[in-house]
């Protein structure tokens, strides 16, 4: 295997603090494909693309530019593992490269801190790195334990549709699908793949988020007999997992659909022991998945 590339990795807030199994799986999978991950010293929240971006555009783009500038100083393209961070950093990077006046304003804020946005790097989602740098063939070749007994429902997450042009919006969700296929898992369509999990709506109305949105998706996933949901976003992960717990606690609605991140799925297909990356840390038991991948 010849591949040797280094990315400045942006973990975001949720993964290192709340879903460490995704980080553990990411580190093992990516290293296996000879891609190095360089930590970004001093990174902050991306910042959040829903609350912060809507509340104040200036602070949102300023802090995003600071994070990108840190990666630029390392001379590395940035890789995000979180869809929300991808939305913010990709969007800010694109805006700042295109808009000279905005770039000037932001650099006036960053200069006293000894930092500067130069517009020299790309921001990539881990799905792009897996698909474009590593490649489907290599993921397939590395799948020493193809997951052919596992039926999965895909949930790409809204932010994965973020692109420079509307014509390009389905590129990454299609990559995600190809990656899942390369693990040997069977994708079962349920027709609501593009529907939001309800996580952002939770901030406005928890009841609508859980009973209207999450339940609608879960019912469809159960209807097609999927063993689990595969996703790419930590916020969606929390919504599916904590959401199911809250549905039981608050509304006595009993769902136990396991949820797994695409990086965990690849790790399983590569024969990496699930204990090595803490698969059992998921709030919804993953025993159904483990039975099918033995």
């Amino acid at each position: 295997m010849q591949l040797e590339k280094t990315y400045a990795v942006f973990w975001g807030c949720q993964i290192p603090a709340r879903i460490i199994n995704i980080e553990a799986a990411a580190r093992r999978v990516i290293a296996n494909f000879k891609i190095n991950l360089q930590e970004i010293d001093g990174a902050s929240c991306c910042p959040d693309p829903v609350v912060c971006a809507l509340l104040d555009r200036e602070v949102w783009v300023g802090l995003a530019a600071r994070n990108i500038a840190l990666a630029e100083n390392l001379g590395l393209d940035m890789m995000t593992v979180c869809n929300g961070c991808y939305e913010t950093l990709f969007e800010a990077n694109h805006l700042l490269k295109e808009d000279e006046e905005l770039r000037k304003q932001v650099n006036e804020v960053l200069t006293p801190l000894g930092k500067k946005f130069m517009g020299k790097i790309e921001v990539k989602h881990v799905v792009e790195v897996l698909h474009d740098d590593i490649g489907i063939k290599m993921i397939k070749d590395a799948a020493s334990k193809p997951l052919s007994n596992l039926n999965v429902a895909l949930h790409p997450g809204c932010h994965l549709f973020r692109s420079k042009t509307p014509y390009d919006a389905t590129r990454k969700p299609e990559m995600f699908e190809a990656i899942v296929r390369a693990t040997g898992a069977n994708i079962v369509p349920y027709n609501l793949e593009k529907m939001c999990c309800g996580y952002p709506n939770r901030l406005a109305s928890e009841e609508v988020s859980l009973k209207e949105m999450l339940v609608t998706k879960l019912e469809k996933v159960i209807e097609v007999n999927a063993d689990c949901i595969v996703l790419t976003c930590p916020a969606c992960d929390l919504q599916f997992e904590y959401g199911q717990i809250e549905l039981k606690r608050k509304y006595n609605l009993d769902y136990k659909v396991p949820v797994i991140h695409v990086l965990e799925l690849i790790a399983l297909s590569m024969g990496i022991n699930h204990k090595e990356f803490g698969l059992e840390n998921h709030r919804i038991p993953v025993s159904k998945i483990l039975e099918k991948v033995r």
């Binding site: 949720q14 290192p16 553990a24 990174a43 902050s44 609350v51 300023g62 006293p112 803490g278």
Partner: protein
């Protein structure tokens, strides 16, 4: 130099430490935003040096603060001296000792907005009855800002720690078990980086916009 420009120059010179912003919305009109500590000095300067006449004082509930506007007239030029009084501690010095006509206006503002004019010679009720409950101020609403309750945790975490979630000791232990570093090198473990983030927020005045109390590391409301 017009009289307006002359006054502006003097105000800048004498009130430099208190001035927040000066703007000229149109001819013969000057808006001067100053810290509340500078109100007496500003009014004294305008009255004693420029023979200003005070028309009235307006009070406006701005959500987080009460804005007081002292409408001063100097030879056809209207100067609005504005200051913001935090609702948590609604106190400002009286100007009755400089403009005796401010006496009843300040009493009315105290009744309706709860602003205490310190040093007022006769702070009795004026427009409300004497039995009116002291804590009820008819024209002052509860303290509120632009951040809704559901946005609050995100804003407070971002400004106080630079990240939305802390890494708890139990998580650190789990991370070590999975052979992960105890924590990634983010603002949670890098004080200098957190300082940078807070400076960005202050430079773009995000902290003022959302009403963040840096001492308490919390929003002033909600």
């Amino acid at each position: 130099m017009s009289s307006e420009e002359q006054i502006e120059e003097t105000l800048h010179k004498d009130l430099r430490e208190y001035i927040v912003k000066v703007s000229k919305p149109r001819q013969n009109r000057l808006n001067l935003m100053i810290a509340k500590e500078g109100v007496q000095q500003a009014i004294r300067l305008l009255v004693e040096d420029y023979d200003a006449r005070m028309a009235t004082i307006s009070a406006v509930d701005k959500g987080l603060d009460i804005e007081l506007i002292y409408h001063m007239s100097v030879k056809g030029v209207i100067i609005n001296v504005k200051t913001e009084i935090p609702k948590e501690e609604p106190k400002v010095n009286t100007i009755t000792n400089i403009v005796s006509g401010a006496n009843w206006i300040e009493r009315e503002i105290t009744d309706l907005f709860g602003v205490i004019f310190e040093g007022h010679p006769d702070p009795r009720r004026l427009v409300l009855t004497f039995e009116w409950p002291k804590e009820q101020t008819p024209l002052k609403g509860p303290i509120q800002g632009v951040v809704t309750p559901y946005q609050k945790p995100t804003v407070e975490a971002l400004l106080s720690q630079g990240q939305l979630f802390p890494i708890l000791s139990v998580t650190k232990k789990q991370r070590t078990e999975l052979k992960l570093p105890e924590a990634p090198p983010t603002t949670l473990v890098n004080a200098e980086a957190l300082d940078d983030v807070q400076k960005v927020a202050k430079t773009v005045k995000f902290d003022e916009k959302v009403g963040f109390d840096w001492k308490k590391k919390k929003l002033r409301y909600g």
